[in-house]
């Protein structure tokens, strides 16, 4: 079954509502290279909800609404996605109350759920309660011919994690501030890299690999942890495979990149958008050069600059369809001629529109 985006939306029966979904729907299509055991399927991708407790049973309404809406709309998707990925940062301060409240929203999903660890879920109790709710912090699974790998990419140096802070609460607080100079760079770490090498050892090089991580698995801007300290080592493990796609959260914005055989795509947050690192006048940072930015957010529309996208991996390569509030939809697809993901409408500099100018 080949489903293009238009057909998908027509079939959805909730096309109007779907056009503002803060959900990422991922479609995998094998086209003519489809082999035994492989068939097209879709999955939805929801990420970065940052559920934040005020006190007692009170939570920040704005962030609650983002996740609640994503879950409600994902449940309307037709054809139904095979599963949902939650991309990390379910909670803001990693408390049981926040994780429970977030899990309550996620429990309304009608599909199986795979979860990725975010730093806001992790640094209070080092993922203990999250793991009780959602299971392993890194694992892999096969689905209809695709090998999925989930990593906990938000670990950091042991000294920072175990020795530097007087309390778990302080540790969480220091990691929660995106621009906090007391933070520490994310990493996958040797233990998980070893696990990954073993996990991939018997996977054929032609099998499409989809890696789900919270941090980018590439180095963009260390100051905001748009960064993974051992990105090159992880990329080296993935490099021998012909078709690798890394889907990551954390950055609350559209990014895409291609490094060797590895395509990188970010997913949107349900909570709030973040500026591009290049707009911080003191940073000297850049976003991946091929990224055409999302449109600048309208702060008066609290769901603006969150959105959803679905991704098809046609012949194992990704095409990402972004649906954005009050903005024209976007498609970023792998261009076989240039060997990289490109925006189908806006990639050429002459095609860009004023709201895509971030400064």
């Amino acid at each position: 079954m080949k489903i293009d985006r238009r057909g998908f939306l027509k079939r959805s029966g909730a096309a109007a509502a779907a056009s503002v979904l803060p959900v990422s729907l991922v479609k995998l299509a094998f086209g003519q290279e489809q082999s035994a055991g492989q068939q097209d399927f879709t999955f939805a991708y929801i990420s970065d909800s940052h559920i934040q407790q005020i006190r007692g049973a009170q939570f920040v309404r704005n962030w609650d609404q983002g996740l609640k809406r994503a879950v409600a709309e994902a449940n309307l998707l037709e054809p139904a996605p095979d599963f949902v990925v939650f991309g990390g940062d379910l909670a803001q301060m990693g408390t049981k109350a926040e994780l429970d409240h977030g899990a309550e929203f996620l429990s309304a999903l009608r599909y199986p759920l795979h979860c990725v660890m975010g730093e806001h879920d992790y640094y209070l109790d080092l993922g203990e309660y999250w793991s009780e709710l959602f299971g392993d912090q890194w694992y892999s699974f096969d689905h209809k011919g695709v090998h999925f790998v989930v990593l906990n990419s938000v670990l950091t140096y042991d000294e920072w994690t175990f020795e530097r802070w007087e309390s778990p609460e302080r540790r969480m607080q220091e990691m929660a501030g995106l621009d906090n100079p007391n933070g520490s760079p994310f990493m996958v770490g040797e233990r998980q890299r070893e696990w990954l090498r073993n996990d991939l050892a018997n996977v054929p090089r032609t099998t499409p690999i989809v890696v789900l991580s919270h941090s980018p698995l590439q180095k963009i801007y260390k100051g905001w942890n748009f960064w993974t300290e051992d990105a090159e080592e992880v990329q080296a493990i993935l490099a021998p495979f012909e078709k690798v796609t890394v889907l990551y959260g954390h950055v609350h914005q559209i990014q895409y990149n291609q490094i060797g055989s590895i395509a990188f795509h970010s997913v949107m947050a349900t909570a709030w958008p973040w500026p591009y690192p290049s707009t911080y006048a003191q940073s000297g940072a850049y976003v991946p050069v091929m990224t055409v930015p999302m449109n600048r957010a309208d702060p008066f529309n609290e769901r603006d600059a969150t959105g959803w996208q679905f991704i098809d991996v046609h012949t194992g390569r990704a095409a990402v369809h972004y649906t954005l509030y009050d903005n024209k939809n976007r498609t970023v697809a792998y261009n076989a001629a240039t060997g990289r993901p490109e925006d189908l409408e806006y990639q050429h500099p002459a095609r860009r529109i004023p709201p895509q100018a971030h400064y």
Partner: protein, 130 residues
């Protein structure tokens, strides 16, 4: 009234020469004053105390990015009129932070504006730019 004005003008003329004579030590002292106010702005920017729901400015605006202080005053399309930076700060305090407006002259507002300007240093002023 006229006599008072003349007196003020006279006093200004009398002290003008002295007012121009500031030293390296003065410059350092004044810069330190600015720095401490900007630091207080950074503290407020990353704290929950301006609002009622625990949300801080820095959650959406790391290093005060995406605030564009160099473009104010400017036509704020959502308000339909030309607005000043402090009005937008108060908009954020009222809405995402669910707090109460600060007086434009409140030292906390001065601190927030100082922090934003400091993070934006080096960017040319472009009032009115959207």
């Amino acid at each position: 009234m006229r006599r008072l004005l003349l007196a003020i003008v006279g006093a200004a003329a009398f002290t003008a020469a002295q007012a121009d004579e500031f030293t390296e030590a003065d410059l350092e002292r004044w810069a330190a004053h600015f720095e401490s106010v900007a630091q207080e702005g950074r503290r407020l920017w990353t704290s929950a105390e301006l609002g009622t729901n625990g949300v801080a400015c820095g959650q959406c605006h790391p290093n005060a990015a995406n605030t564009h202080p160099e473009t104010y005053p400017k036509f704020q399309k959502q308000l339909g009129r030309v607005a000043q930076m402090w009005e937008m700060v108060n908009w954020c305090i009222r809405n995402p932070l669910e707090g109460t407006d600060l007086d434009p002259g409140d030292p906390r507002m001065t601190a927030l504006l100082a922090y934003m300007a400091k993070e934006r240093r080096g960017v040319p002023i472009e009032a009115g730019k959207h």
